[in-house]
Symmetry: C2
Subunit: 324 residues, 2 copies
């Protein structure tokens, strides 16, 4: 039976987005709501409310299923949440909790993998057999597509692009490691540098973006000041771009992808950061690997929703194929 819609849910550190998506990738209806801060059940309740909202007025048999992206390390085969830095979801059986209260199949995956899936099915990576997706946001996530398939590794947990070591004696990473890409390029890292800058004479522009209150300086303040032309703020992000470039040197030497897609809030806002990363990669990667194309994500905030919906369609179609 060929269903018409899937529901994609994208759980982020600060907001939960949901969409009712057609097979060809059109988002028919969507909604965003802040991520609850009252624990895992609040998050699950919000997911269920979003599902109910999306499925209003649609016949249940027209819905292929529900895909949920979580900012977490997920064992895809077990459908379990193994590890989660920014939300209290580690060990929470999100899939079963949702499944018990809705009428559709539920599949969970890492949000970076789903953003990659969205760009592959409907966006900047359409038709690319080998590409790397990086999402620059609160964390640095991503997904690998290798030989035309999402690559998840032996336990379904590959693709953690943000947790490659780029500087052995580098700063701590929110994951507990040291000198990872995310230690330099996640929102907390950029915010910390912004706070330091805001306490100096050159930090006026960044401080202004935080209404003069240094305790309110965050990554967005740095980005806004940089986009308005402030050199010191721009320098912080350009240095992030250089670190990203060095991580990409390793990645292209290892995986020789054709295409690199940079998405996430920071990646989509800061073209100059992505350009600097591309320059560094092209200058320092091994011969023959430098021709990887760089592009910014095309789907913006919808990448996660679309990737999650595409996953739900795929899972539905595999089940149908088995039952046929």
């Amino acid at each position: 039976m060929r269903t018409s819609f899937a529901i994609g849910i994208d759980v982020g550190g600060t907001r939960i987005a949901a969409g009712l998506v057609e097979r060809k990738g059109r988002v028919v209806k969507d909604a965003r709501t802040p991520t609850p801060t009252n624990g895992p059940f609040g998050i699950v309740d919000t997911i269920i409310e979003a599902v109910e909202h999306m499925s209003e007025g649609v016949h249940p048999s027209d819905i292929a299923g529900i895909g949920i992206g979580l900012p977490a390390q997920i064992d895809f085969l077990k459908q379990s949440v193994e590890f989660c830095t920014n939300l209290p979801l580690a060990g929470v059986d999100v899939r079963s909790l949702v499944l018990s209260r809705v009428r559709h199949e539920v599949t969970i995956d890492n949000d970076g993998n789903l953003a990659a899936n969205g760009e592959y099915r409907f966006g900047a990576a359409k038709g690319a057999r080998d590409f790397i997706m990086l999402t620059l946001g609160t964390g640095v996530g991503g997904g690998l597509f290798l030989d035309g398939e999402p690559y998840r590794g032996s336990r379904g947990m590959g693709g953690e692009v943000g947790h490659m070591v780029v500087q052995m004696d580098g700063p701590p990473c929110p994951c507990g490691g040291k000198g990872h890409l995310e230690s330099y390029l996640g929102r907390p890292a950029i915010a910390a540098r912004g706070v330091k800058l805001a306490g100096t004479a050159k930090g006026r522009a960044v401080l202004d973006e935080a209404a003069g209150d240094i305790s309110q300086v965050n990554a967005e303040a740095v980005i806004k000041a940089a986009l308005k032309g402030d050199e010191a703020a721009r320098e912080i992000l350009l240095e992030g771009g250089e670190v990203l470039g060095r991580a990409l040197v390793g990645l292209v030497n290892l995986l020789n992808p054709r295409l690199i897609v940079i998405g996430g809030g920071i990646g989509e806002a800061c073209g100059f950061l992505v350009e600097r990363a591309a320059e560094v990669m092209q200058a320092e990667a091994l011969a023959g690997r430098r021709d990887a194309t760089f592009t910014q994500g095309e789907l913006g905030n919808d990448a996660g929703i679309l990737g999650a919906a595409a996953l739900a369609f795929d899972e539905h179609d595999s089940r149908e194929a088995i039952h046929r």
Copy 2:
């Protein structure tokens, strides 16, 4: 037609090894000869002599073909040598030059990929769907097997494990980059640290291994002294193991492999180095990825020959399947 033998050639920086190999991986005959230093044609001549030597007394129709591993970056689809640090083979059409003078099909590949192929078909990685092979020798090479297939990337040049950035401000790498794994763990890097040590009071044991001549101190002198229990020499290699561990943190976070096989001369000689790398990886990788198994290569010096022969069998069988 089911052929009985393939010829595997493994071209190294210092020696060219050749073997006549049965389908099940038995090396029926093999030979090693120093790598000529009189330019590319000398190397090609030596390869051809090795082929003639291996095929003596075997009916040509019993030989599936010739596989050649080169310490070079190879565009596998084009069968071209793109880049070669340690031998003068960049841009040399090794495949055609050999093909024009022998009676069998010829396929070239990167030596690290072929060592991985050998371990996968006949050695420590038999049956592993996802594993990473690292060869620690003059350079740090390797190969990726993902989802049960050798992974070569979009242009056939993936798998350069030695050229991941582990320290952005690190020492130069023979490839021209900076702070790559090979900058710390290749023979030249170990030799340089050995020379430095040999000039100090603690360097007596290493100097002794070079017959008291500091200009003769090389990586092998460091390894020999370490294996005899010299702490200072051991420390050099343990530090190399730590850097390897950090590179592996990034690799397992990215690729979530089940198995890591460490081969090459240094990898097979220095179990304590491999152990240190495993400790670092297990302490610092993300949860759920730390259970990757470490093992040393099983095939020793034959890994390259066996992998090259397996490639020749595969290529032969694909041609047969197409013609059938």
